[in-house]
Symmetry: C2
């Protein structure tokens, strides 16, 4: 392992320079798993595939696959993202490493270490057939309870929850929210991203001010405007502004009462 030559690797000759004995150890499979979020019909959706085989046959699972011998986890994740969503412009999508799940018993078949990623897709393409045999679909995200998708296969409920938490947190101090939006969007749509991911309501006026006061968050498209939802005044259109960090941050409202414990502040 890069780092040290420790006795932790049994029978690995510490002096072997060009290569270790590649088959001296029980092999690890390394995979990527993807939590792909989008907003469809006003709510948060997640891309899932239905498993055809045991274990967990019939359950929903996160899309994913093996690392190929010559690709990094990031490359594998982006490849899977393209395959599973059927999109072409995958290059521009937000894709971010979450963490690695390595419990020895997370897959009953063999030792599988999985690098999990979170991805955001602006406009969900059709449920799609997918490049793979497995059926893929956009499923409403369940949140705390496992919602419409029921318990997922393997440790994917955990991964999904971690991914949601990460995305929600990143909205606070980055301009990530625009990654959920089409190239041109209204401030109402941008606000809706926050509301859907956080599960809260935000004051439209204050949100507007905050976003506009942050240089580089959004840039207005001069003449353009669009009707949203039929009713109401046409809204000005914006593009992402190039910035990626948010100073000062846009903190989500604190989850009011501490459960069974002391006062806050």
């Amino acid at each position: 392992m890069p780092g040290t030559d420790t006795p932790a690797a049994p029978s690995a000759p510490a002096h072997a320079t060009p290569a270790y004995d590649k088959h001296a150890y029980e092999p690890f499979a390394v995979t990527v798993d993807l939590a792909v979020f989008t907003i469809r019909s006003g709510t948060l959706h997640i891309l899932l595939v239905e498993r055809g085989q045991e274990p967990y046959a019939g359950r929903w699972a996160l899309p994913g696959g093996f690392l190929r011998p010559d690709e990094s986890a990031e490359a594998a994740a982006r490849r899977e993202l393209a395959e599973e969503t059927g999109l072409d412009d995958v290059a521009g999508l937000h894709l971010e490493q979450l963490r690695t799940y390595s419990d020895p018993r997370r897959d009953p078949r063999m030792r599988v270490v999985s690098v999990a990623f979170a991805a955001l897709v602006p406009d969900a393409p059709q449920a799609h057939g997918g490049g793979d045999a497995a059926r893929a679909a956009w499923i409403p995200y369940g949140g705390e309870d496992t919602g419409a998708h029921g318990p997922l296969a393997f440790d994917h409920d955990r991964i999904l929850a971690d991914a949601h938490e990460r995305i929600g947190g990143k909205l606070e101090y980055t301009c990530l929210a625009t990654a959920f939006c089409p190239p041109e969007f209204t401030l109402g749509e941008l606000r809706h991203v926050y509301e859907v991911v956080w599960g809260t309501e935000l004051d439209p006026a204050n949100f507007r001010r905050k976003v506009l006061a942050t240089p580089g968050f959004v840039a207005q498209i001069p003449g353009a405007s669009r009707l949203t939802g039929g009713r109401g005044k046409p809204a000005a259109l914006y593009r992402g502004g190039g910035a990626d960090s948010l100073h000062p941050p846009l903190l989500r409202p604190a989850p009011e009462p501490a459960p069974t414990e002391g006062t806050r502040r």
Copy 2:
């Protein structure tokens, strides 16, 4: 891969239930690498080991090692932490997964996927001999430039920089700083953690108020006080308060002038 049974795994029979063909693929080695920080004589230090063999013989590297067949990356990291630091109470130390580094060419010898961790040690034990053959030592952290430790082996400069950035960020919105401190500490010492990690100076008065106003950040030890650095008034002693999140956050001062670009608000 938990998730889908994709054709991404060549020659893996999709119907094989109890086990894949374990040796059908080029094996991946999975390791952990540790960025272990501490504060020694007032500055940030990092635990490094000196490499004895090629590649990168003579260079400093992050401590680390292989995952054993039956342990998770977290377990392996904690085991390595104990081995390399020589500490016993490793159970209570802060250890957090950073991310996974998987570039196909990051180790010239073979395919190595490494799960990196960041750890904090309150009082640095002696430089120690270490359980391993390699020499280990606490080296002053270099920051942007590679400082005293020179370029590290493999991609460890990158890992170390990522770890430092993560730690610095987490100080903002968690109570992590107490993990750098001994069980009993003064507010000046706690402030020093922030200053050393962030590389800035903080107003003692405001820092004090902020910390005390956050419920659960610290708890005063009634009668106790201690002299710090010889000079000055004796300071009250505190313990960690059990909370782990910081609401509202303690933001680090913005790095003053944007390099070549617009005004900041």
